[in-house]
Symmetry: C2
Subunit: 101 residues, 2 copies
DNA sequence: AAACAATATACCTTAATTGGAATATTCTCA
DNA sequence: TGAGAATATTCCAATTAAGGTATATTGTTT
């Protein structure tokens, strides 16, 4: 996640990433490999540098995924709200019959 | 993630979650606790059942986060595109002077 | 080719996560 | 109150991920 946040501002080499995150170069390489293998990052080789940057696609997919949840949760809230309205009516009736409100 | 996907369709008790995901009840409880502690789920106690459901907020935050990336990546693409146009012009000039194209 | 720079890999150690079985807790119902 | 149901907690083993150091690889420069 730190790498993803860092690359938000633009592409960087492995060494720059390691330096800014204060991790060692092999750690940076390992995490970058995993992120690239999973399609989060893309790499271009330039001389003996490897420049990594974010890929757009996973973020688009994630947004689609998140939106699908928000849609469903919104719908469910409507149902719950209706239900709660019903409950209030029932509660009032009960209260009338109770000694304490 | 399996629990989150499962709860997409509505709230469920611990036992139902364990059953549908084919995990044991203690595992379900542990994962549910972590998800609830981190604000992903909310729980309501009903007799001796605990009913878990998704909370909307983290999904909204996630969408905001994702969108901020898409916005930035979109802007960056424009810049990169301009840059690439410049590079093409430079490459053509180089090619004219090279023995091989 | 030799020295150097940047990065990737391999191997090992340590930390964190996950899963299992047993048990404690809380609630219901007779 | 006692039995049973549903869930949480504890303790332990196993798996997985992360971090370190050394070294291999690739490219550059002289």
């Amino acid at each position: 996640m730190a790498i993803v946040e860092l690359l938000r501002d633009g592409e960087l080499t492995v060494g720059e990433i390691a330096g800014r995150l204060e991790i060692r170069q092999p750690q940076a390489s390992k995490h970058l490999k995993i992120l690239a293998d999973n399609g989060i990052l893309e790499m271009k080789a330039e001389a003996n540098r490897r420049i990594y940057k974010l890929r757009a696609e996973p973020f688009q997919s994630l947004e689609t995924w998140v939106k699908s949840f928000e849609k469903i949760m919104g719908e469910r809230y409507d149902k719950l709200d209706e239900y709660l309205q019903e409950m209030k009516k029932v509660e009032k009736k009960k209260t009338k019959n109770n000694k304490r409100g």
